[in-house]
């Protein structure tokens, strides 16, 4: 069997590993758009903050048998002939194809795109550019356009390096895609404590190069200065090469419960996909590292010929920001169903419960067993008798199991 994997990040490489173990005779080719050896994108902010102690730790383990080809961005997919064509005019034929091309940063304002002082942070080269700008510029402050997950993580890394930053936020608050207003407020307080500046209700209209730094013009006419502008306005799945194919896409590739696309023998996994959400029961993007690992393992297993159903997914995030752990899941940016909140000076907890089951939560500050919260939500375990423990952040796995004495006494 000939397998071709398009994309060599978390999903692509994990799929290759799975294929290697399930079909040792299979011929596996991985096509990477990037010229550098596959690395962990998730760790990039940690590279900036030097929490990643060696640059080498960034690189992902190589699959043992699969052929990995660098600099082969796929530009065309021929469904009829079962072939892909790369930017270097090479074609690869497949029996089973996995699309794991991930996503690219979205720059909403075309005017900003292309300016040497406007950066996005998705790839290793982006991070190197940012480090270089910080070193060379006479102004250290970094202007962060948008206060989503990526920019918040960058800000956290900058705080670690004692470099000031200014958030320019179009909406009224930080992390509006992930936490509710109270959670935002809490994180914003910590951000300000750590030397961040917040400008809300504004966008950047123009970035002007001025010596070694940038003059940044805002909608109100205000001008601020920084070493560079980092745009963190979310990402878009890399699906351009699918334009002329019948593969069904919305924002990302729509896959069925076996992670197969609308075209037979073509599968998709990772940030490029859209799958059913457990809580909303609708197709959603769940662009997360652990989701990519899970999807790629299941997709690869199905490519070999098994039928492993991919369960409905739940969105979640855990992130370290300004000394606090921010952990969210399910419905987290608004209130819905039964809402329980607990706010103290250095922590904010909220859980949302529907018919006795967890459908959302926000924890800023301490939470003991995040994994158990996710398991409880994914499996829709009954928490109606555990609300007190749940809101305290103290759920533990064994609380859901019948006491073993009953089991022991057969």
């Amino acid at each position: 069997m000939k397998y071709v994997i398009v994309g060599a990040s978390a999903a692509g490489l994990n799929a290759a590993r799975t294929l290697e173990s399930l079909d040792p005779q299979g011929e596996i080719t991985i096509l990477s758009a990037e010229e550098v050896f596959p690395y962990s994108k998730m760790s990039l902010p940690y590279l900036l903050s030097n929490k990643l102690k060696k640059r080498d730790y960034l690189f992902l383990p190589h699959p043992s048998k699969a052929k990995l080809l660098l600099g082969q961005r796929v530009v065309k997919l021929d469904i009829e002939r079962k072939k892909v064509e790369t930017v270097k005019n090479k074609t690869f034929s497949y029996d089973k194809l996995l699309i794991a091309t991930g996503a690219e940063p979205y720059v909403p304002d075309m005017e900003l795109e292309g300016s040497p002082l406007v950066l996005t942070v998705r790839n290793l080269s982006d991070m190197d550019k940012l480090k270089d700008k910080l070193k060379k510029s006479d102004v250290k402050r970094v202007i962060l356009s948008g206060a989503g997950l990526v920019n918040s993580e960058i800000a956290d890394a900058l705080a670690e390096l004692k470099i000031p930053a200014t958030f320019v936020i179009r909406s009224s608050r930080m992390l509006s895609q992930i936490v509710d207003e109270e959670g935002s407020e809490f994180i914003a307080e910590r951000a300000i404590e750590n030397g961040m500046e917040l400008i809300t209700g504004e966008s950047i209209t123009k970035v002007q190069e001025k010596g070694d730094h940038a003059n940044v013009f805002l909608t109100s006419g205000k001008i601020i200065q920084g070493s560079c502008v980092v745009v963190g306005k979310g990402v878009r799945p890399s699906i351009d090469f699918l334009e002329k194919t019948p593969i069904k896409c919305d924002t990302g590739i729509l896959v069925n419960e076996y992670l197969e696309t609308s075209v037979k023998d073509v599968y998709a996994a990772g940030d490029v996909t859209e799958t059913k959400d457990l809580i909303s029961d609708e197709y959603e993007m769940h662009a997360l590292w652990p989701v990519a690992m899970e999807q790629s393992r299941i997709a690869a297993t199905n490519m070999v010929g098994y039928s492993w159903k991919y369960p409905k997914e739940v969105s979640r995030n855990i992130v370290n920001l300004f000394g606090e752990v921010v952990f969210t899941g399910g419905i987290s940016k608004e209130d819905a169903y039964d809402v329980y909140k607990e706010k103290e000076s250095r922590s904010y907890h909220k859980i949302l419960v529907r018919d006795g089951k967890l459908v959302g939560f926000v924890f800023v500050g301490d939470v003991l067993n995040p994994g158990v919260y996710l398991a409880a939500m994914k499996n829709q375990w009954d928490v109606s008798h555990l609300l007190n423990e749940a809101i305290k952040g103290a759920l533990s796995y064994s609380m859901f199991k019948a006491p073993t004495r009953e089991v022991v006494n057969i």
Binding site: S43, L60, W289, I318, N369, G371, P403
Partner: protein, 162 residues
């Protein structure tokens, strides 16, 4: 290969293992730094110790973006390389059992490492709920235990039928 074996029926809930674990790893007696946890069910007066199962294909290992977690093929232990750990906590969310967790500061990731082959917890477990045994031996013991239980049931059935 040796594994940490739990016999829930024998646990009295004294939590000495938690203190021993914490002391072994940190030099302090803080149950929050213990890799093993005794879950208490007061309404049933039942105590259930729980500790990392050292999964064969571990979720924590799979999601670790820097390969700081790896399974040692010789000892079976999923080992955490602190040098490589960036503290992103993906492993903690990935483990549905809460067996890899944060220490008392809420910052550092900790998990059971079988104390490198000489677990401190078993030495203080006087009821014998915890032991460190060869996998093969445990299998035999379990087979025998189950057989003994089934024998009792069979005896009852024979008596009932007679």
């Amino acid at each position: 290969m040796k594994v940490l074996m739990l016999d829930q029926a024998k646990c009295t809930g004294c939590r000495a293992c938690e203190y021993a674990c914490s002391f072994e790893h940190t030099g302090k007696f803080n149950p929050l730094d213990s890799r093993i946890k005794v879950n208490e069910f007061w309404e049933d007066l039942t105590f259930v110790p729980s500790v990392c199962l050292q999964c064969e294909r571990a979720y924590c290992e799979e999601v670790c973006p820097t390969s700081a977690l790896t399974k040692n093929p010789e000892t079976g232990v999923v080992e955490l390389n602190k040098e490589k750990c960036i503290g992103c906590k993906q492993c903690i969310v990935a483990c549905p059992w809460g067996s890899i967790k944060l220490d008392h500061t809420g910052k550092e990731v900790i998990k059971c490492d079988n104390c490198g082959g000489d677990p401190a917890c078993i030495k203080v477990c006087y009821p014998g709920a915890l032991s460190y045994e060869e996998v093969e031996d445990i299998t035999n013991v379990k087979v025998q235990e189950t057989a003994t239980r089934l024998k009792e049931i069979a005896k009852d059935l024979v008596k009932g039928g007679a």
